[in-house]
Amino acid sequence: MIEDNVKTITLDSPDKPADEDTLLEVRGLRTEFRTTRGRVAAVRDVSFNIRRGQRLAIVGESGSGKSAMAMSIVGLIQPPGRVTGGEILLNGTDLRGMTDRELSAVRGSRISLVFQDPMSAFDPIRTIGAQLVESIRAHQPVSNRVARRQAADLLGEVGVANAANRLADYPHQYSGGMRQRVLIAMALANSPELVIADEPTTALDVTTQAQVLEMLDRLVTDRGAALMLITHNLGIVAGFCDSVKVMYAGQLIEESDSRALFASAAHPYSRELLKCVLRTDRRQEGLLSTIPGTLPDPTEAFQGCSFEPRCPLGKGNATCQSVEPSLHTVQGPQGIQLAKCHFAGQHELKENQ
């Protein structure tokens, strides 16, 4: 069923200029955290575009900077984090130049977020209805009654039975899956142009995951919104997104059409991720441990390729240790792929390299 949604698309290269179709354009985004041990870059020089209606997946291990990037886009990176460079253009307007009040008008209305943990995403002492109404009225000049009706409709739409009555319930009276649905309803309440979903199903059991994803898919399609799905589970991406960007240590290291990626990943890290999916294909917990090694210590300046210590291909290679790779274009079997790897697209190292 998901197959139907996958269209053939052309890959967005960062070099490709923004056109009318471009919804969000991120250029050279850099986010740093100030810690007791100095500055830590969580997002390092990330650039990409999202077109209207596009479904983009950002994939990477936890700690790779995916969430920091998402929060940076909407200006909600929490101290000690701070966006230190780059541009975030929504329909050509730079969000970084906006005041907090202007940004508030964008958040929840033109860009919405769906969060990972539905258990802690709600104010525990206010009713679901109140929180929904609050979201609606923050952006639409409607009366409380109208907003309430809209809220009930939304709840119905995300599959909450007896929606009108359940508005008066408190968050703890909803199950986890239901809360995630409400969270999605809330994100879509003001018909956003872009929905950023940060691991929206991680906390749910497998059956619910599928249902929620299906619903998200439907609602996004209905509203013609673009979707940026952040996940570490490549398995979800497969049938769901048009293109995939793989993130590692704060950088986008591979960008490709999702079909191309699954057919043949250009970056060794992507391949490792794919292997995990193929191997386990069940739950995510096992995933991380199956890539040997851990993320590099972000406080230490990199030299060379950040994936080098864990790379099955380039580990110990002199080039990899000393030169930071640039983004290489690879012509894969399914189209063009970009990978930040000296050996992009290669599956085996040639002797002389």
Binding site: F33, T35, T36, R37, V40, A42, G63, G81, L295, P298
Partner: protein
Amino acid sequence: MVAVAAESPIAVSRRRIVKGDRVLVAALSGLAVIAVAVVVGPWLWHYDSNAVDLAAQLSPPSIDHPLGTDNLGRDLLARVLLGAQTSLGAGLVVVLAGAVLGSVTGLLAGALGGVVDSVLTWLTNSILCFPSIMLAMAVVMALKPGIPAVVIGLSIHSFPWYMRTIRGEVMRIAAQDFVKSTNAIGATQMRILFRHIFPHLVSTIVLQMAAVFGAAVLSLAAMGFLGMGAQPPTAELGAMITEGQQFFLTGQWWLVAFPGLVLLVAVTLTTIIADRARELLDPRGEYIVAD
């Protein structure tokens, strides 16, 4: 989001102190100055705190008497120094007595459990239902007005907190593996308590002592103010404020102002130090409410 290698809180705090928490350093040095002045001052200052000199009755602050004199011509600086010694010293005794009493009962309740635990818990609950001054006043009434009775009353009121904390900690730690293994080797229970469990609690106890020291000093002064603490002619800050009260309103403001200011400064400094220390040692829970 970004993983920073875990570092022990103690190490963090050490580094922060070395790097210089300016407020903490300032407060510590302020308190050190007061402590030195209070301990050495009465001995160095050339006036005797009890030397009556009616010719100099109620002199305002001057070079000869930096803080002025009282209604009997006694040098106020000498009296304030001695008064602070009494107040702060007694505060220290309250805090120590509370900690010792609380530690012992807490260890007993936690280690022995059962009836001992129930009785001690009941007793402390009962004690905690009067405000500290009310309890101190009751003890004063049963014994006699004076610092000893007040110290006893305040110590009784302060020990339940230590007891509860330590009791809880003992029960928690006793359930942990390393204690179990020690037990298997055959160490006696008391040995386990004092060699293994107690050291874990020291920082908690010290923090609480620092936090309640100020309150103890203020309660002592309050009892002095009510005429139930230090008795004349003992110099004690609270009692001095009472003695000066009547003169305060007829223009001799220094009699009330200086003892009060010394109290204010000393207690504020200890409060700041206790706060900072707590934040440094326990960066997560910025504020722990004692029950």
